[in-house]
């Protein structure tokens, strides 16, 4: 087998793994969009916020320490404890639920019935706000996140492929774990929305707000629930990405990576998010591998967007999206 082909296979595998990570972020978008029609740009910043909160709680940092010191003098930094990963994750989930409730009460409740584009811009404002708050609370320096996920090259795959192709594939353990987590998460979400009472209520709200209200479903509760779920997905994405590349500002840019995934897969479809993520992950890695060197590299920044753009021209609702019907 030729060397190029083996390289291409490795690139494809890594692309699939990256695609799973994109899909993980895209899932959070789809959840909120389906239930409330809000396209939540702040999803990436929520992942950043969740990861920073997790690190802060694990290390026992005092929130707003820097600000308190600046106003009152003094040198508070840490409470002086270290929490184990699991307890910290539980606490962070609590924080994300609180955040969801605040967003619903303070922002989204006042914007019910506005045009989608206004809601979209409100979430951009929310993203800025959250980013500032996260930096004020926990400081903006690069943090390392370690909740015990395995990292580094997977030796078994390396050896197996070396025996077959005479060339060992480099696959990161973390990517494998992330894939497993993503599959579990999707399965969990599907089970939740298909078989539990709250999940059914959520789907009812997504179908028709007024009809859902008339059979006694509380819209407020469902929306808080949806934002909490999105916060939970953001936390999972934040843990995986934070472990991979450290917790810092660039974590919030994964939202920008997830947007073309959504356009490709359709905003309303969970399978769409996954398939879109895989297509984009493989596509951009292969494009970078095959065409990238010819045009100067770093094509990953825009390839996904241009692919999604070209795709949309032929199918405006995305791969699995609901058909857009317009009436006057």
């Amino acid at each position: 087998m030729s060397e190029q082909l083996v390289f291409a296979m490795e690139v494809t595998l890594n692309g699939l793994m990256a695609g799973v990570l994109y899909a993980l972020v895209a899932l959070g978008f789809v959840l909120i969009y389906k239930a409330s029609g809000i396209f939540n740009y702040a999803q990436g910043v929520m992942a950043l916020f969740a990861a920073m909160t997790l690190v802060g709680i694990m290390n026992g940092q005092v929130p707003f320490a820097h600000l308190i010191n600046a106003i009152f003098g003094g040198h508070i930094t840490h409470f002086g404890w270290n929490l184990p990963g699991f307890a910290a994750i539980c606490l962070t989930v609590g924080v994300m639920v609180l955040l969801a409730w605040l967003v619903q009460v303070l922002v989204m409740r006042h914007l019910v019935g506005q045009e989608p584009i206004i809601l979209f811009m409100a979430t951009i404002g929310l993203a800025y706000f959250l980013e500032g708050v996260a930096d004020l609370m926990w400081g903006s320096e690069l943090k390392t996140l370690d909740v015990g996920l395995p990292q580094g090259i997977n030796l078994w795959i390396d050896e197996t492929t070396f025996q077959i192709f005479d060339y060992g594939f480099f696959i990161d353990n973390l990517d494998l774990v992330a894939t497993v987590i993503a599959v579990l998460l999707v399965a969990g979400l599907v089970i939740f929305s298909q078989y539990t009472k709250q999940g059914r209520a959520m789907r009812a709200v997504a179908d028709d707000h007024q009809a859902a209200l008339s059979v006694g479903i509380s819209l407020n509760f469902i929306w808080v629930l949806v934002w909490s779920l999105a916060g939970f997905v953001a936390l999972v994405a934040g843990i995986v990405w934070g472990t991979k590349s450290g917790v810092q500002f660039s974590l919030s840019l994964i939202a920008l990576k997830a947007l073309p995934v959504l356009m490709l897969g359709g905003f309303t479809s969970i399978p769409g998010a996954i398939v879109g993520g895989l297509i984009i992950g493989v596509g951009e890695k292969l494009f970078e591998f095959l065409i990238g060197p010819m045009v100067g590299g770093a094509t990953e920044n825009w390839f996904a967007y241009v692919l999604a753009l070209l795709f949309l021209v032929f199918r405006p609702q995305g791969l699995f999206g609901e058909k857009i019907i317009e009436r006057v």
């Binding site: 590299g297 920044n301 753009l309």
Partner: protein, 358 residues
């Protein structure tokens, strides 16, 4: 009391069709122009020009451009940063290729180039709408920034990958480069802002502007009553691109002088201009000015209050700025989705009746 149109009778079509039909508005407009052209250039200092006035004028042009697209035609664009980069690099290539031609021509030409690029990236708007389009324009943002970063022809093969503006003159006065006097750069930008505002004002109240607004309000209905959606959308993209290109060219050549594309024209810039348009008021020329002034002044004021008065470290103030801007966006969308311009309109209504409101 202060603001009346009573007794303001028109006796000819020309008088009825002027840009500012109410006498008070007209007088105020002339007064503002007189102060801007006749008074400020004599008192301007380098600090005022670089910290407040130049960014305000340049962002004002960009905000008018984006407002035409978003506020008047309803096509949300997140590619402003990329289009400004097209203006900047177009201006740079023209400046270095034709050193003897006047800067005014260069800036106008780079606006034209940007208009063409903008129309190209606006083509998908014929098929996709709403925030699918908003996300699609991000493709322009990322692709253009990448292009200017990676293709050496655009930055004349310079070792650093940056572009820096050589010294150029307009009628014997240095306009670009470190030796340009503050009053000259100020007047140069002001000239373009005045021109753009006049053109925008007159376009938006004419046939073209009405067809934009028809498309914005409901595109299918507009198509049925005979508005050509392709023509309306493409003209909106072209005019908007022209203004944004001018803003980009001025931003690079007159204001910054040297530019690294990812830093100066990144996605943050797209959002910044979009926020100006939202806070100022969608679909209002005055709103574009108000939004630009607001977002240019806000960091300056926060810095003065936070760093100089309260003595906080600069990084805390920078984070606070994010919090304040984000909260303001949300606040404006909840309380007044039509922005500062609408607040001004309401004040005007109140003043008209004051002090006898009933």
């Amino acid at each position: 009391m202060f603001y009346r149109e009573a007794g303001d009778f028109k006796t000819s079509y020309v008088a009825d069709g002027q840009t500012f039909p109410i006498r008070f508005d007209r007088m105020r407009y002339y007064a503002v122009l007189a102060v801007a052209f006749g008074v400020i250039p004599f008192f301007i200092t380098d600090y005022w020009a670089n910290a407040i006035l130049l960014p305000f004028l340049i962002y004002g042009i960009a905000a008018i451009g984006l407002n035409i697209l978003v506020g008047y035609c309803g096509q949300v664009s997140l590619g402003t940063g990329g289009f400004m980069a097209v203006g900047a690099y177009g201006c740079y290539k023209l400046m270095t290729a034709f050193p003897e031609v006047s800067m005014i021509v260069h800036v106008l030409l780079s606006g034209g180039i940007t208009a063409a690029v903008c129309v190209l990236f606006g083509l998908p708007s014929l098929r996709i709408k709403g925030f699918y389009l908003a996300v699609a324009t991000l493709a322009a943002q990322f692709f253009l920034v990448w292009l200017f970063n990676r293709v050496p022809w655009f930055y004349n093969y310079s070792a650093s990958g940056q572009i820096s503006a050589p010294e150029r003159h307009v009628m014997g006065v240095v306009i670009t480069g470190p030796n340009a006097p503050a009053w000259a750069t100020y007047l140069f930008c002001l000239l373009f802002l005045t021109g753009c505002a006049l053109v925008a004002r007159n376009l938006t109240r004419g046939t073209v502007g009405r067809s934009w607004m028809a498309i914005r309000d409901m595109d299918i209905a507009a198509e049925i009553i005979g508005v050509n959606p392709m023509k309306a959308k493409m003209t909106a993209f072209a005019v908007s691109g022209f203004f944004i290109g001018i803003a980009g060219a001025l931003f690079f050549s007159v204001y910054l002088g040297a530019v690294e594309v990812g830093e100066a024209f990144g996605i943050q810039k797209s959002f910044l201009v979009l926020f100006m348009v939202i806070i100022g008021g969608l679909g209002s020329i005055f709103g574009s000015f108000a939004g630009a002034a607001f977002l240019v002044l806000l960091p300056v004021i926060l810095k003065v209050v936070g760093v100089d008065v309260l003595g906080w470290p600069t990084d805390i103030v920078a984070h606070f700025q994010l919090v304040v801007v984000g909260a303001l966006i949300v606040f404006f969308l909840i309380v007044e989705p039509h922005g500062l311009a609408q607040m001004w309109r309401v004040t005007k209504e109140k003043l008209r009746l004051w002090p006898f409101p009933h």
